[in-house]
């Protein structure tokens, strides 16, 4: 009886050690948000602006999966998608994502409201 038990204990200690190691390597903090492709994608976008379409598509898939899971996308992610759409002249999608950001993060409300207002005004003029 004691043989298998001890072995089980040994394996779990190993796993625990591995978990600690992973925690230490990943910066030892549990993260508040799932950032997905954001940080690396933004770097790539600045390095190669032609990667913008890919960045937009990846971010959109990422926030969709977070929203389906009922969690809040990280601060700013939804607005960044809006801006990438705006740069591709898709004003309607830009407004949609600025609204998502505004409704997710109260701090963003004044800025998002003025962006949405400007875009709607321009759209109705055009």
């Amino acid at each position: 009886m004691t043989g298998p038990r001890r072995r089980w204990w040994f394996i779990s200690m190993k796993k625990l050690g591995l978990a600690f190691l992973i925690m230490a390597m990943t910066g030892c903090v549990t993260t508040e948000y799932s950032w997905g492709p954001y940080e690396q994608g933004l770097y790539d976008y600045y390095k190669k602006p032609e990667s913008g379409n890919e960045f937009l598509a990846e971010l959109e898939v990422h926030v969709a999966s977070i929203r389906e899971g009922g969690a809040k996308p990280a601060p700013g992610l939804l607005a960044e998608i809006g801006t990438l759409y705006l740069e591709r002249n898709d004003t309607q999608s830009a407004i949609k994502y600025y609204e998502y950001e505004r409704d997710t993060w109260p701090e963003s409300r004044p800025l998002m409201d003025s962006l949405i207002k400007n875009l709607s005004d321009n759209a109705s003029k055009g």
């Binding site: 601060p75 607005a79 701090e107």
Partner: protein, 209 residues
């Protein structure tokens, strides 16, 4: 078991925030909930460094519990307002900048160094940053600076010729494509999360939700 203890000790010494000799009164009275990260001023010779650095700042601040304005959106808005250079943004009035975005605080980051030096058989990569946060009245509430240097470890195979070749290859590779990003990220992590300048937890932290 022993290596587990070593790991735990490493983690504890690596992550403990040491709060000492820093005057937090201005920060506490400002009590920022939202932080505007403006484009980064670049005093290095690498023209791309400013944008690259900008991409690393949102995550550590948001993970500390703050609402962080979308950095690329902010950059695009500022450009549309005629602020094409980060220097212009840093020189402009903080109060009206904070008002424009309704931000509680503004983070200004300046790159002092972002370079790779090739010295015979080793290459050392250095980044150096100044961080300054002001509240919506323009009062300085937080300040930090960080220098990070990376020099590839010399290998030791016991064969001096093999080692020399390995070092030369290593140095050449580092020089051809120096990887600044892990250094930049760890500089941010150290000043914002780990060291005595670590920011107090913002309103969006797990413990408060």
């Amino acid at each position: 078991m022993k290596y587990l203890l070593v790991l735990v000790a490493l983690i504890m010494t690596g992550c403990a925030a040491q709060q000492k000799s820093i005057d937090w009164s201005a920060y506490e009275s400002a009590d920022p909930k939202s932080i505007l990260i403006v484009p980064v001023v670049n005093n290095s010779l690498d023209v791309d460094a400013s944008n690259y650095m900008l991409s690393t700042l949102s995550v550590p601040l948001a993970e500390s519990g703050y609402y962080v304005y979308p950095v690329n959106t902010v950059k695009v808005i500022l450009e549309q307002e005629g602020f094409y250079e980060a220097e212009q943004v840093h020189r402009s009035d903080s109060v009206s900048l904070a008002e424009m975005f309704s931000a509680d605080a503004i983070l200004y980051v300046t790159i002092q160094r972002w370079d790779a030096k090739y010295i015979l058989l080793s290459t050392s990569v250095t980044v150096q940053f100044d961080y300054l946060m002001v509240d919506s009245e323009g009062t300085e509430i937080w300040k930090a600076e960080k220098t990070m240097v990376y020099t590839p470890q010399s290998s030791n195979s016991g064969n001096p010729l093999v080692d020399l070749i390995a070092m030369a290859v290593n140095a050449a590779m580092t020089k051809a494509a120096p990887n600044y990003m892990p250094l930049a990220r760890s500089a941010n992590q150290q000043v914002m999360v780990m060291e005595k300048t670590a920011l107090p937890a913002g309103p969006y932290t797990k413990s408060e939700e």
